[in-house]
């Protein structure tokens, strides 16, 4: 256990993180761009149009990966928040906040692309479907985490307070989803379902898998980039950061 904590602290120390991030960020972004290119080309031009929905269905190649990421990022963020609160590792506090910003954007992309798809398909920009409502609440929770972080002066206690809120949110997200589902099944008999993975034709699947990989790589790249910037800003007065700045000039 002690060895593990020491390993955490040495790899997670700000100068080491800087070196690690500088090495890996370009790699993740290159992988993300390659996957994005292949996935977009495949989704837009190569696969045939859906038999029922026509061309409009192609938006799911952005929508579905983004929706998966909105929850995936929350889980990664909660893991970081837990480590930050229990072992007080500085870099995990930074990563928690960085995750919150990326997760917020993925949630927003999910909601926006969903609306664009919903207008021609359902005839409305928005319905109070359980999935939509719980995704909207997820957006509010992400916003609340960032808002709390920005409202507290001291960066470290702000990050710790935000991390605590992340853990409360982690308990709440499944409850919200469950409660809204319950609430709606009471009211309306038929709910319109977004095309599920299982119901999808196999020849339409592969761009979706590539795009899912792309969003994962994109998340890794951008979360490290954001955390790297925050890390440097927090450590600006330390010797190693000054030396790094001098060596770059």
């Amino acid at each position: 256990m002690k060895a593990l904590i020491i390993w955490f602290n040495t790899t997670g120390s700000p100068p080491n993180f800087e070196r690690y991030a500088a090495r890996w960020i370009p790699i993740w972004f290159v992988l993300a761009f390659v996957c994005l290119l292949i996935g977009t080309a495949g989704g837009l031009f190569m696969v045939p149009a859906d038999s029922k929905q026509g061309e409009i269905f192609r938006i799911i190649y952005i929508h579905v990966p983004a929706a998966w990421m909105s929850l995936f990022v929350f889980i990664v963020m909660a893991a970081q928040a837990f480590i930050a609160l229990v072992w007080r590792i500085k870099i995990c506090e930074i990563l928690t906040i960085a995750c919150a910003h990326i997760g917020l954007m993925f949630t927003a992309v999910t909601l926006i692309t969903g609306s664009i798809w919903g207008k021609p398909t359902w005839g409305a920009w928005w319905t109070w479907d359980p999935r939509l409502t719980s995704e909207l609440v997820l957006l509010f929770i992400y916003l609340g985490i960032i808002g709390l972080y920005n409202a507290i002066e001291d960066r470290r206690s702000a990050a710790r307070a935000a991390a605590f809120l992340v853990l409360i949110g982690l308990i709440n997200v499944p409850i919200v989803h469950f409660s809204v589902t319950w609430w709606n099944t009471l009211h309306q008999g038929e709910t319109i379902r977004i095309v599920g993975e299982s119901k999808m034709a196999t020849e339409l699947m592969w761009p979706l898998i590539v795009m899912t990989l792309a969003t994962k790589f994109w998340f890794l790249g951008s979360v490290l980039q954001r955390a790297r910037t925050m890390n440097l800003a927090h450590e600006a007065n330390k010797d190693w950061a000054k030396k790094l700045a001098e060596s770059k000039q």
Binding site: F140, A151, S157, R160, A161, F164, N172, W183
Partner: protein, 228 residues
């Protein structure tokens, strides 16, 4: 203070102190009630004065009015204790902080939220709620509003060090209130449509039991984070 009896008498002493403090400021007790009445009045002015339509909307309006009103009083749970330094004394005292916070939450519910529940028959009359729905509404409020106080106390503990935290507090707490509102107001709506409504109340009750155990501990942890 380690024995059970010591903890109980400590809890009682803290409750007495907080209750006395809130009874000394009677105006503060009247404010949430006036606020809820005004929200209900505004709803009737903004939507329609037709009894049939109002009766349909009544459970939702009453739930939202009470939720908003107790949201506004959340900040008061710690504010004065934080400003005069009592909160730091509680933090340093050998007594478990969660117990003291638990007493504060109980008093907040008794002084700021329970009067609203007691006045719910009046609100129901204002909105022409059918009389057979009053019992589901009262029960859902009795189980749901302590949950509002408990969850809100955790969030308020996170924002205790922030000077103008009112709006932020609302933005943080409201997403967490979604399930409470859905089950609370949902139970009344279910009752109005002739469905079984006790299931939702049972879920609220389960949530309440969990929150009674966990929320004071979580609030104490949050206070330690925001005061250090």
């Amino acid at each position: 203070m380690t024995s059970n009896q010591g903890a109980l008498s400590l809890f009682a002493a803290q409750c007495r102190r907080d209750l006395r403090l809130s009874l000394r400021r009677r105006g503060d007790i009247a404010q949430p009630i006036l606020f809820a009445i005004m929200v209900i009045t505004l709803f009737t002015l903004a939507t329609s004065a037709e009894p049939k339509k109002l009766a349909e909307l009544a459970p939702g309006i009453i739930w939202v009015a009470i939720l908003l009103s107790s949201l506004l009083s959340l900040d008061a749970i710690y504010r004065s204790d934080f400003e005069d330094g009592s909160l730091e004394q509680m933090l340093m005292s050998p007594a478990p902080l969660a117990l003291l916070i638990g007493a504060r939450i109980l008093v907040h519910w008794l002084s700021a939220v329970m009067p609203l529940v007691v006045l719910t028959p009046l609100f129901a009359q204002m909105l022409f709620l059918p009389s057979d729905l009053l019992a589901p509404l009262m029960i859902s409020l009795l189980v749901g509003t302590p949950l509002i106080s408990l969850v809100g106390a955790v969030i308020a503990a996170l924002t205790v060090g922030i000077r103008h935290s009112g709006m932020l507090l609302a933005l943080l707490a409201l997403p967490l209130y979604v399930p409470i509102l859905v089950f609370g107001a949902g139970a009344v709506v279910a009752a109005s449509q002739g469905f079984a409504w006790l299931g939702a109340i049972s879920l609220l009750g389960a949530g309440l039991v969990i929150a009674i155990v966990l929320a004071p501990v979580a609030a104490a942890a949050a206070i330690k984070i925001s005061l250090t």
